[in-house]
């Protein structure tokens, strides 16, 4: 700790920080542009000038840039000094000389750091009377708008895009007073993290293009804290609504999870909420006399329940509460977890490793601090994008520590540290069949058939702990790689092993568990991060439920007649023919979902469920962190939470297991009693009766507009605003205006700080935790003192099977996730669903012309796909883009038999 004097007042502050951070942390409003808590300081904008004094007798002082000055004991500075104030006003005057006078048509307006800083410095009149510099804009793809005239040359965009996120195609061009931030030519920004530019840019050069299509100012939206449903990482988001449609997703800072950034799938994948394919009203088939009332349909479902022979199929994309409500509705014995069998196996294994193994799961924030990383069979950029961003920070750890030690720099001195590091990277080893975007950072990359890669990983664990049997017949090159990885693992303080579901081979996870366990035994502090398929896969696995396969059997044997499907498109979970057979045997299919999909087509009863924006719920991310998302707005029609549908049905059917439960807190309480492992969910966030000064927390900012005009076209008398019995939030602008507890921050705003930069005011330390701790509770902490059980069986070396091809899945950030594909901007970037990638030698062997249609057989069904050559695939292995909506092959990985006539030009398969 150090004592510093700001305007002659002493403050105790932490060493190693810069003065700007310290001032902001102390609540002093000091304007800045180029500094960003995650990007560090470069001292480019000259906006954060303060006066620094030699000693208490020094009255003259000197101007310094606070972001470039480290904290020193007994340093005397002044923020309010006349010269400093005047200097800051002048600087912003210069920055504004070319600003284009277009706040009215700028999407940043109202959430603009430049506006805030201009007001903060008191620069109110333009003194510059000459002409303004102008630029031409570029087309940057479907995610971002570009308006270069607004630029103030702070360099934050390229520093984030290139230095932080590893992008290649955004750069700074030209020189002196007309530098230009853009691409070499028009085109989509290639980085998966490009959407963050809208938040990183302090003004309106980069703005959210999907927001523009239904533009709303920040002050006009209803907000609620939410959690991204795009992948298993569970990044925290703020969702904003206006006029009954979801308008924007922005980052919600969580020091443990996503920090300041989001990936593009998370930021833009929200448009399914506004889709025309939404189910808005309950329906029943065959419907005889017009639309049936909700009560009638609930009575109908309740009658079916009373008849018995009902099973429930849950969903990894539904909340814990909804899955639990369904489980209680049909009874634990009749609850099936609704994951594909491969996903279920992976998730169950991940849960077993993380719960019973000695190594606790690593949060994203911890991943960033790892000094050695081993990635086993996972393309994290596509399966868990933010994890890739964290890995990109982690590879800087080792050289950064060296640089800091050698030339006595602090980590925040960004330009100097990068200069000292040059291209140095910390150890990163990637074992993956395909090239990944992280390969460019890797110390060594090994590409081979998955079995062979797993063998290498097992051998690494063997060389760490002889209790794990040696892998026989490993090649010399492989053994050298094993030695190199082992040395790097042993040299590291905090090594991290990443694996997951992406390869389709669970042995990768077993090897990861072995390696981390062996390291733990050696007294190291290893970390483990295992990706799982969906946003609540791990939560559902903790809740339990039978395999989906056994649900088919039960229906087939007539032990069940009615199926209640919860937020699940079963056609994504198993082979189409299997699902179709199942629907043939089921007398009644009751679907509770929000989108009209293939399963809805077969359902006899449809009940409209709320999406994440229209319901309250809890999901568990891949590190076992339970996180709550809150309802943003009251939807149109009869849409309500899935668990509420279950409760209503239970009430009508008189199911005692759900007796007396009415609200979110009730159901969470019942769940934590039924499943003790989920007990911490109860303590996630304040309950619905939580009040501050007797008031609820408003979802709307205090300057929310149009309250008496929004619905005036329907009825000039304003209706009573809806109640929210489930949460401490109100659906109005009335309520407590101060800072709510961290899990209940609906949006970031502070007086004078309208932009996202206001996060400063909510953190206990800049870049650290939110006041009162970050939201979310970890359910898994590993079994540190338990006995380490290893997985002993390494697979045999890979040998192609004659006449067969093994298909493995390839995941894509844009395309493999079900819901985000309803965003047109994401759908247009998805890969082709009809492609099968094969080794060119295989193509030659089967006599297939590249690009031609190929017939193959899978469990007795014929499929046709276009064969594309891919040199990375070993012989006998093919790959298919996984998870695409039209994708005919769902069960992956899978063996296929090549059809007798490989090439066919008449396509008459039922799959098309």
């Amino acid at each position: 700790m150090a004592t510093i004097y700001i305007d002659n007042k002493p403050y105790e502050v932490k060493d190693g920080r810069n003065l700007l951070e310290v001032c902001l942390q102390l609540g002093i409003d000091l304007p800045y542009f180029c500094w960003h808590p995650a990007l560090g300081s470069v001292g480019a904008c000259r906006q954060c000038a303060i006066k620094s004094f030699k000693d208490e007798n020094d009255t003259k002082g000197r101007l310094v840039m606070s972001c470039m000055e480290p904290v020193k004991d007994n340093i005397r500075i002044s923020v309010n000094d006349k010269d400093a104030v005047h200097f800051r006003e002048q600087v912003i005057g210069w920055l504004m000389t070319n600003h284009p006078h277009d706040c009215a048509v700028c999407d940043e307006g109202g959430a603009c750091h430049l506006q805030d800083m201009t007001v903060m410095t008191g620069h109110s009149y333009r003194n510059y009377r000459f002409t303004k510099r102008t630029y031409r804009n570029q087309y940057l793809g479907p995610f971002l708008n570009h308006e270069m005239n607004r630029c103030i040359q702070c360099y934050r965009c390229v520093r984030f895009y290139k230095d932080y996120a590893g992008g290649k195609d955004l750069n700074v061009f030209a020189a002196h007073h007309h530098v230009y931030f853009g691409r070499e030519k028009d085109g989509k920004l290639e980085s998966e993290f490009s959407g963050n530019l809208a938040e990183v840019c302090p003004t309106g050069v980069f703005t959210d293009k999907t927001l523009q299509s239904h533009y709303t100012r920040k002050w006009d939206m209803d907000y609620a804290p939410s959690v991204c449903q795009g992948c298993s990482l569970g990044c925290n988001i703020v969702a904003g609504e206006r006029y009954g449609s979801l308008r924007q997703i922005t980052n919600r800072y969580n020091g443990e999870v996503n920090g300041y950034f989001l990936c593009d799938r998370g930021r833009y994948g929200y448009e399914f909420v506004n889709s025309v394919h939404r189910i808005r009203e309950p329906a029943i088939r065959p419907h005889l006399n017009g639309t049936s009332s909700k009560e009638h349909i609930i009575r109908h479902v309740a009658a079916k329940l009373k008849e018995g022979k009902v099973i429930g199929i849950g969903s990894p994309r539904a909340s814990l509460e909804s899955n639990f409500a369904l489980r209680q509705l049909v009874g634990e014995k009749h609850f099936y977890n609704g994951m594909s069998d491969a996903d279920h196996d992976h998730t169950a294994l991940a849960l077993k490793i993380l719960r019973d193994g000695p190594v606790p799961p690593a949060a994203l924030h911890e991943v960033e601090k790892a000094d050695m990383i081993l990635i086993l069979g996972e393309d994290v950029t596509n399966t868990a994008p933010m994890l890739a961003l964290a890995v990109r920070q982690a590879v800087r750890q080792r050289p950064m520590q060296d640089a800091m030690r050698e030339i006595h720099l602090s980590a925040w001195q960004d330009a100097a540290v990068r200069e000292a590091m040059q291209e140095e990277k910390g150890p990163l080893f990637i074992l993956n069949t395909f090239p990944t975007k992280l390969d460019e950072l890797a110390t060594r990359v090994q590409r081979d058939a998955p079995e062979n890669l797993i063998r290498i990983a097992f051998q690494v664990s063997h060389s760490l702990d002889a209790a794990i049997p040696e892998v026989p017949d490993l090649g010399e090159v492989e053994q050298m790689l094993v030695n190199q990885i082992t040395d790097a693992l042993l040299a590291a303080q905090r090594p991290l092993i990443i694996s997951g579901y992406g390869s389709g081979y669970d042995a990768f996870m077993k090897a990861a568990a072995n390696i981390s366990g062996a390291l733990q035994k050696k007294g190291k502090q290893p970390m483990l991060n295992l990706t799982v398929p969906e946003c609540n896969s791990l939560g559902l696995e903790m809740l339990g439920g039978h395999r989906l396969d056994s649900a088919f059997d039960v229906l087939l044997h007539g032990d069940a007649e009615t199926v209640i499907v919860l937020e699940n498109d079963l056609y994504r979970r198993a082979d189409k023919h299997k699902i179709e057979a199942m629907f043939r045997y089921a007398k009644e299919v009751i679907l509770i979902d929000h989108l009209y999909n293939q399963t809805a087509e077969k359902a006899s009863v449809l009940l409209p469920a709320g999406t994440f924006a229209e319901s309250d719920g809890t999901i568990v991310n891949n590190e076992g962190r339970a996180q709550r998302y809150y309802q943003v707005y009251v939807p149109k029609g009869s849409v309500q939470e899935s668990w509420r549908w279950c409760l209503e049905i239970a009430q009508a059917a008189g199911i005692h297991r759900l007796n007396g439960l009415r609200h979110l807190d009730d159901i969470v309480w019942a769940m934590s009693i039924a499943v003790p492992a989920l007990e911490p969910v109860q303590r996630l966030a304040p309950h619905a009766d939580f009040r501050i000064a007797g008031q609820k927390i408003p979802r709307e900012p205090h300057r929310y507009s149009g309250r008496t005009a929004i619905d005036a076209n329907k009825n000039v008398s304003e209706p009573k605003p809806p109640d929210d019995p489930d949460t401490p939030f109100s659906f109005t602008m009335e309520g407590f205006r101060g800072e709510p507890p961290a899990p209940l921050i609906p949006f970031f705003w502070a007086p004078g700080w309208n932009s996202v930069q206001s996060i400063n005011k909510f953190q206990s330390e800049i870049g650290g935790h939110l006041h009162g701790g970050d939201p979310g509770k970890r359910l898994l902490e590993g079994n540190r003192n338990g006995e380490i059980t290893y997985f002993l069986e390494a697979p045999e070396a890979y040998v192609p099977i004659p006449g067969h091809v093994h298909i493995i899945p390839v995941y894509h950030i844009f395309g493999s996730e079900e819901l985000s594909m309803h965003t047109p901007a994401i759908a247009q970037q998805a890969p082709d669903f009809f492609c099968i990638y094969m080794n060119p030698e295989d193509l030659h062997q089967w006599g297939i012309t590249p690009g031609m249609w190929v017939n193959f057989e899978l469990e007795g069904h014929a499929y046709v796909m276009a064969a594309m050559p891919n040199n990375w695939l070993p012989k006998g292995i093919a790959a298919i883009n996984a998870g695409l909506p039209q994708s005919p092959v769902v069960d992956l990985p899978q063996f296929i038999r090549m059809g007798g006539d490989a090439v066919s030009d008449n396509i008459h398969s039922s799959t098309f």
Partner: protein, 171 residues
């Protein structure tokens, strides 16, 4: 007694004064140009809608009686896809006019908007948009703002240089 007679005399004299009472509605009161009455949306000198849908009027409105939705036309101009004022709530404070950066929303010297049915006081865009520049003739927002629209490229607004050639390194 005297005061009584004096009062009657003064009243009598008033018969010869100029009348202050207007015979409304037959006779209209002359209203000053800056009278804050009915709200209208005005147009540019070239006939385009002035409103760009910036939401500042709605934010400034103390009774929150303005609701709109901004959208962008293919030619790059922004406009409100709907614009609703609930005159049964409006207090004619004129804050919206003050907030408007494009002189689009203007309060006119017209107060005759009484209705029997309150619902009829909800004005939509077609009721609000007039074919006039109102009090600020000649002002055209897009001629000042740096955003390009069709017919006005980058560098063609007031006090703008031609767009920078980013490939040039000359000073």
């Amino acid at each position: 007694m005297f005061s009584l007679i004096r009062s009657m005399w003064l009243v009598f004299l008033h018969m010869f004064h100029k009348r202050e009472t207007y015979q409304y509605p037959e006779q209209k009161a002359p209203l000053p140009a800056r009278w804050r009455g009915r709200i209208a949306l005005t147009r540019d000198p070239d006939g385009g809608e002035r409103c760009v849908g910036c939401y500042l009027c709605a934010a400034a409105c103390p009774v929150d009686c303005i609701a709109l939705q901004a959208t962008e036309a293919p030619d790059g101009r922004r406009y409100p896809s709907f614009f609703r004022i609930n005159f049964s709530r409006c207090i004619f404070c004129g804050f919206c006019e003050e907030a408007c950066p494009t002189y689009a929303i203007q309060l006119l010297p017209d107060f005759e908007i009484a209705e029997y049915d309150r619902q009829n006081l909800v004005y939509e865009k077609e009721d609000l948009l007039i074919n006039s520049q109102g009090k600020y003739p000649g002002y055209n927002y897009y001629k000042v703002a740096g955003m390009s629209i069709s017919g006005k490229d980058k560098g063609e607004a007031a006090k703008e240089d031609q767009p920078v050639d980013v490939k040039s390194l000359l000073p």
